[in-house]
């Protein structure tokens, strides 16, 4: 086995283009589980967690955007200053695994794995994140909705790396919430991210763990935008209930070893209602 530990993006791209079948390793919190369980044999490994370009983030006030390098860890995302710019993603970060997992696990690893239960993904979907991919041949930018194509499937090609994501810094309340079998260290059985955009006067909602990909809820979003008072942060109880019903209707859950479809759909409604009420606390 060859383990390459590049220390610049150029070196990393050279490594993945010379070894297109190499496993790309960031924090290892998904990949090493597979290796330990012998579900995956690794021969060549390109370690990307010491590439400075991937470990950086950049806030651009002029365009009101935040670039997060793929190698930014959940520990970094859950704390200020990043948490202040993308609170929904920070809340999701705080629910990932345990401190040990968050110290190692990265945004890029969550995208690479692309589990429907990946906690980072609903906030990225609700924020309309752009995923930046890079290879020796050049770069391409893919909207998150096109990046994830199925459970643990995405458009990443061999020889390509995830460079990072760009997120809008939105003014308005945003949050993320999930249910699982316990409080700490739990995979979501259902999760919801909600972003209220006070300027565009829109409400964006994305669901995790209740479909093959992260699901947006166009009907619930449109309904909410028409019902809420952005200035007074007001929404009627009846509107919250209808919003919850529409969000639950957008879910495409399945029965599996973690939960039932019926419970997941119910949970989506509860979580969506909770988030909308937090965003617009006045009745």
């Amino acid at each position: 086995m060859t383990v390459l530990v590049p220390t610049s993006l150029a070196e990393a791209l050279e490594a993945v283009s010379a070894h297109p079948d190499a496993a790309v390793l960031a924090g290892g919190t998904d990949l090493m589980v597979e290796v330990n369980e012998r579900r995956r044999e690794v021969s060549d490994v390109v370690v990307v967690n010491r590439v400075p370009e991937l470990r950086t983030w950049r806030h651009d006030p002029a365009s009101a955007t935040l670039f997060l390098g793929a190698g930014v860890t959940w520990t970094e995302v859950e704390a200020d200053p990043i948490a202040g710019w993308v609170p929904a993603l920070a809340q999701a970060a705080r629910t990932v695994g345990s401190p040990q997992i968050r110290h190692a696990g990265t945004v890029g690893g969550n995208l690479g794995t692309c589990s429907p239960a990946g906690d980072g993904l609903p906030p990225l979907a609700a924020l309309d994140a752009t995923v930046h991919l890079v290879s020796a041949g050049g770069t391409r930018d893919v909207p998150f909705a096109e990046f994830m194509t199925g459970p643990k499937r995405n458009v990443l090609l061999h020889g390509e790396l995830i460079a990072g994501v760009t997120l809008p810094v939105v003014s308005g309340w945003q949050g993320y919430t999930k249910v699982g079998v316990r409080n700490a260290m739990v995979i979501a059985t259902a999760s919801v991210a909600l972003v209220a955009d006070d300027v565009a006067q829109s409400v964006r909602v994305a669901l995790g763990s209740v479909g093959p990909v992260i699901l947006r809820c166009p009907e619930a979003e449109e309904f909410a935008a028409g019902e809420v008072d952005f200035g007074q942060r007001r929404v009627a109880d009846a509107a919250v209930a209808e919003f919850a019903r529409l969000a639950a209707a957008a879910a495409r859950p399945i029965d599996d070893h973690r939960s039932t479809a019926a419970y997941r759909r119910h949970a989506v409604g509860v979580l969506a209602a909770r988030l909308l009420r937090r965003a617009f606390p006045n009745g």
């Binding site: 383990v3 290892g28 044999e41 520990t75 345990s98 040990q100 997992i101 700490a184």
Partner: protein, 165 residues
């Protein structure tokens, strides 16, 4: 498939020879370097018994590809204090009765040092959250939390120039 590399463990350069494909840091520490203090149980990052510091970050040794840690500073439970001279955290675990079977203790000691370095006066909720990656099947956690609180109090008393407990 044989790999040779050097790891920096507890301040010492350690040669690893003829290592196999995909070996975790946990495996290499125990089976190749004879450092048995770091425990292995779940090997999927859930139990925290393999907690070590890599470049100052608390991580699960089972999820670190050993060969990827070349050039990084690794600290294991053997590196926190010399034998016979326990740290305040280790002593507090003994005093508070936070050690029963002892299997989770090395990981919890590493996690507690990491927590108190970052947050010297943690609330109980913070302690519970910060130690949520370390599973103990004996104590029910009450005495572990008490041990952490004892250290926090003793350190702040000492820092304020008061009597050390």
């Amino acid at each position: 498939m044989a790999e040779h590399y050097t790891l920096h463990v507890n301040g010492t350069a350690r040669e690893v020879r003829d290592a196999g494909t995909g070996e975790s840091l946990l495996f290499v520490l125990r089976e190749r370097l004879g450092l048995m203090g770091t425990k292995g149980a779940c090997e999927q990052g859930e139990c925290g018994s393999c907690s070590v510091l890599v470049d100052g970050q608390l991580v699960c040794g089972c999820l670190v590809l050993a060969a990827s840690a070349v050039g990084q500073r690794i600290v294991t439970i053997e590196g926190v204090a010399p034998v016979g001279a326990p740290t305040d955290v280790q002593q507090a675990f003994v005093d508070a009765g936070a050690v029963q079977c002892g299997f989770c203790t090395p990981g919890l000691i590493m996690a507690t040092h990491s927590l108190l370095d970052r947050s010297p006066q943690p609330s109980e909720l913070e302690i519970r959250e910060e130690l949520s990656g370390n599973i103990c099947r004996c104590t029910g956690y009450g005495r572990i939390i008490e041990a952490v609180q004892r250290v926090a109090v003793a350190r702040s008393t000492a820092a304020a120039g008061g009597p050390s407990a």
